[in-house]
Amino acid sequence: MATPRHLLLLLALALAPLLAVAAAEGAAEEGPRGRRLLVLLDDLAVRSSHSAFFGSLQARGFDLDFRLADDPKLSLHRYGQYLYDGLVLFAPSTPRFGGSVDQNAVLEFIDAGHDMILAADSSASDLIRGIATECGVDFDEDPEAMVVDHINYAVTDVDGDHTLIAGDDLIQSDVILGSKKIEAPVLFRGIGHAVNPSNNLVLKVLSASPSAYSANPKTKLASPPSLTGSAISLVSVMQARNNARVLVSGSLDLFSNRFLKSGVQKAGSKKRYERAGNEQFVTETSKWVFHERGHLKAVNVKHHKVGETNEPGMYRINDDLEYSVEIYEWSGTSWKPYVADDVQLQFFMMSPYVLKTMSTDKKGLYSISFKVPDVYGVFQFKVEYQRLGYTGLSFTKQIPVRPYRHNEYERFITSAYPYYTASFSSMGAFFIFSFVYLYHK
């Protein structure tokens, strides 16, 4: 029985898409990623001990859903739709996740193009180690090991076991770490990892110093440590080919309020910083991981003959053409023009026949004009732009190139006049010869 209330509901359902469209138009520009994050903790105390980091995420507009890692109702997707756009995995010691989530579910989540921050510490479980290994990062297998550095440690009140590292060997990349240089060392206490050498998508963001090693700090070293020196990575990032970004840190404390707020003095250095570099480091790297920076998009791919504006369905060999594309970078709030001088266009058929660097007007428009090569076939306009820290741009547009039509060739070329003359003279000679041959006496 359709009561008036049911009818109202139906009406609301019918109008919902229209309202949604209207709302989207009114709202600010749409970013490349959604803002729903799932935060998995193995102790809800982490929510308060790391509140400054979570607060900075919330202040940037993220919608955080705090859940215990063994919550039996845990699920990443429902009815084939992901419920979250990113994952913060602050549950180093959890042996298995609750609900339907397991290692494969997390990896599928990343394969679907979502981002993740994973923090481990010395209690890291096999589950966390397994996820990290799948992301190209191998934690030290010794469960007791921590990163120890007897030279580049942070000075504390009591002379401890030198596991509190003051790391300052950061990656040279403005796009990952922000344009403002991180002056103070970054405090780190946790386990080290090695970057899988066969995986070229992983980058060391914070490396250990050459004097560091990974071993159990409480016992004497029986054998040489397996991980030593700057081969140890403290924090790594991975950008997958689908532009999913993953940050792996060997220290959960790196994100904690205590490290964010504390001062730092590196051993052997007179200079004492009021604040460790952690706050800036975690803010900037989380901006990168959740695509608030370094995300490129290409729009308005256009090409046409010089002097025309319409896009033809086909070019002729030796045509002069112009190609243009607009590239923007997401700044966290809006799409800003991306300015670089190394964006190249390929005119490609099995191999690039033309490879040229496009010129830019500094407002995001990249353009190039060139002559179609003297080869016909099915070509592609191809832009492959992979730069450290930026999402990869890869787009192609197929275009056939035809030879000259029969009536498009040059006629009456001056240098060919002798040949014309010869041809006609041999015709004339034929007539004269026939005449002479037939009528001679």
Partner: protein, 114 residues
């Protein structure tokens, strides 16, 4: 080398004596062939000077000369009275073949000349 020179002289003399006995119609054909081959050679020399750019024009120019020369040689073989192979072929028929082949050749040349 007076002996070699006199030998060459003798050779040329005997050749020209023998050639004087050739019928006039064959001599006309010979002249025509020489003209055609000379024109072809001039064009090859010209191509060596200016380059092979309108290559189709060059080919049609040279091939029209070579082609007419080849056809004329064929005609000469067929109308030669000493040639026993074609003694059943009337010279009128040979000339008609020659004309037809020339027409086809020049049709192709005109199309290829560009």
């Amino acid at each position: 080398m007076p002996r070699a020179t006199s030998d060459a002289k003798l050779l040329i003399q005997s050749l020209s004596n023998a050639y004087a006995a050739t019928p006039t119609n064959l001599k006309i054909i010979d002249l025509y062939v020489i003209c055609a081959v000379a024109t072809a050679l001039i064009q090859v020399a010209y191509m060596g000077l200016v380059g092979s750019f309108p290559f189709n024009s060059f080919l049609s120019g040279v091939l029209s000369c070579i082609g007419t020369a080849v056809l004329a040689v064929c005609l000469r073989i067929q109308v030669n009275k000493d040639n026993k192979e074609f003694k059943d072929l009337p010279p009128e028929r040979a000339f008609a073949d020659f004309v037809l082949c020339n027409l086809v050749l020049h049709l192709v040349i005109m199309n290829f000349l560009g």
